[in-house]
């Protein structure tokens, strides 16, 4: 099985490289010029030429790209074209900001989505099911940035007013002076809430249809025929079967979160991977962009692989197909 997994991983790498080339070219051609940015208001052509030379932007594109890739592979990702900060540091810091956000969102959403999905699947067509369905549709249609602002309005400001607090309980921006678990909670609660709405909406629908399909299976009828309680039939036999498909979706979505929290981070002013991306694009900063893309790409590939592994772990039939002797 590990050979299969490794093969899949290797196959994804050319795709990732191709995407990085495309973006590199795109940003260099169409994007902002970091040299111009650094020369600021002066627009002095002499300054611009000098800075371009300094940053190596006057070389041909292929040379620039290869140089960047060499940097990436050796682990020293150079410095930002805009600010001369170490790219390793920039991305490292950004990851440290985004990771907890992604982690807690996935954890919370998974629990809620499973509960909603299973409950809906056990009583399809019921009032509860219809309500959850409407909520799921609402979650999918909800513009994230709008939801974020509404949530801030409600939980940061209104709550402070109504409860007559001296300061808001839930923060809408990171609190640099605070520390500790409580502070993290107050910072993360609202962004996690916003991210979770989206995740729960999609995952709960998925869980619902996966379980409904599963419960139609003959093995469920056999489980009932054995005299097992309905609860056991649903959770041990039914849910287990639906878990394979759900787990795949969750792992893939979770991996995509690393690069996909742009809006949420923007609304809550969190200096994570999303904010970094926006800044790098705004500045035409390929020194940051390329490693960013590759890091996100690697995370996505790993997440996909993790999904495959989980799937095989949950479904014994799959292991056989991939060539392991029985």
């Amino acid at each position: 099985m590990w050979k299969y997994v490794a093969r899949r991983a290797l196959a994804s790498i050319p795709v990732l490289l191709l995407a990085s080339v495309l973006i590199f070219v795109l940003v260099r051609e169409f994007g902002a010029d970091p040299a111009r940015q650094r020369c600021g208001a002066s627009r002095d052509p002499v300054c611009i030429t000098r800075v371009r030379e300094q940053l190596g932007l006057d070389r041909t594109l292929p040379v620039q790209y290869v140089e960047e890739m060499r940097h990436f592979v050796t682990g020293n990702w150079g410095t930002s074209l805009r600010s001369d900060q170490s790219v390793n540091e920039l991305i490292g810091d950004a990851l440290r900001e985004t990771a907890p956000l992604a982690f807690w969102s996935v954890l919370l959403s998974l629990g809620i989505a499973v509960y909603i999905g299973v409950t809906s699947a056990r009583h399809p067509g019921s009032v509860r099911d219809h309500t959850y369905t409407v909520l799921a549709f609402a979650g999918i249609a909800m513009p994230t940035f709008w939801l974020g602002l509404l949530v801030i309005q409600a939980f940061t400001y209104e709550m402070q007013q109504r409860l007559h607090l001296s300061e808001p309980f839930f923060y809408s921006i990171p609190n640099p002076v605070g520390s500790g678990a409580l502070n993290s909670f107050r910072e993360l609660a609202l962004p996690v809430l916003v991210l979770s709405v989206q995740l729960v909406a999609g995952w709960s629908r998925y869980q619902r249809s996966a379980l409904i399909d599963e419960m139609h299976g003959d093995h469920i009828r056999t489980a009932r025929a054995k005299g097992l309680t309905e609860r056991r039939v649903v959770w041990k036999h039914g849910f287990r079967g639906s878990a394979t498909s759900l787990v795949t979706v969750v792992a893939i979505d979770a991996g995509a979160l690393i690069g996909g929290v742009v809006i949420t981070e923007r609304v809550f002013s969190r200096p994570g991977m999303g904010t970094l991306l926006l800044a790098a694009l705004r500045d035409g900063d390929t020194a940051v962009l390329l490693p960013w893309m590759l890091v996100v790409g690697v995370v996505v590939i790993l997440a996909n692989l993790f999904a495959d592994v989980l799937y095989a772990a949950l479904d014994p039939r799959v292991r056989l197909v991939t060539g392991r002797a029985s």
């Binding site: 056990r122 369905t133 709008w146 419960m215 009828r221």
Partner: protein
Amino acid sequence: MSSFGEPGGPVRRSGVGEATATGTAALLDSDVRTADVLARHPEDVPPPASFLRRYARHPLAVVGAVVLLILILAAVFAPVLAPADPTPVLTTEVLTEARQGPSWEHPFGTDKLGRDQLSRVLYGLRASLVVGVGVAVLSVVAGVIIGSLAGWRGGWMDSLLMRFTDLFLVIPALVVLLVVANNPDPSFFGLFDLPPATEIPGMVMLLAALGWMPMARIVRGEFLSLRERDYVEAARAAGASDRRIVFTHLLPNTTGPIVVFATLAVGIAILNEAVLSFLGAGLQYPAVSLGQMISDAESTVGTDLAYLILYPGLVLFVLVLAVNLVGDGLRDAIDPHSRG
């Protein structure tokens, strides 16, 4: 699930497992799957014959359709319905109207510059719908052309077109959008000028350029499987030309998935445009966009002017929700058996 002691009449011991709202009983695999009973004698309990009836089975889809219709009408008649000019010249007359909450004169209030919000929302709604429909139409046209060519011809044409499709799929859309959309004078590698994405036509083209790929794959898949059907073989044997087969046999049978995709694409495009505009990389003055309005209003969070965030977002949300509900209803009405 099992209910006994139902009022009136003899006790009825109901089966285990769900009886779905649509009336199709749960399936058991044996020679008497309930659905088999229904399917073996389809003339007895078919789904309603007419498309409208099938659609009407889902109250949510009907509500969605009604709401969508209202919104479309509001957008079409925006010039008539709007109490004021959405992008007025900022005379003192206008400016004195600033910062007013919702009232009879200004049902959605006014912003810091005195612009009537209802008018702006109506025109923003218009822009969203135009973008949504435009992107959907373009994506469908491009996707159908490419997908049908690939699916029908097969062979090297298929490989080539699919590589091309994969290329576009590989590109991270958000990144491309953010890079290109901001550029006021985009050109295709210096060869010719492209319409900028700060205006509606450019936005539509850009979003469509990144959204046609799923349609191509779907159409290709359908064509590949339909190609093997007997009636296609028969038509080919009878000497029908390629074009005839494609247009009379293959395309009509693909309308279902096409329509479903198109509706979903509308919703996705609307949200994409809104996000881009919110980030400042989308439609700009003089175009009015709901996303842009929310972005302008961002600083009013926690103040009296927070209503400036509420209304544009609410309309955007309801619009996308209605589109999604309609799309879902269409999917079930077109193919009742694809339900999970």
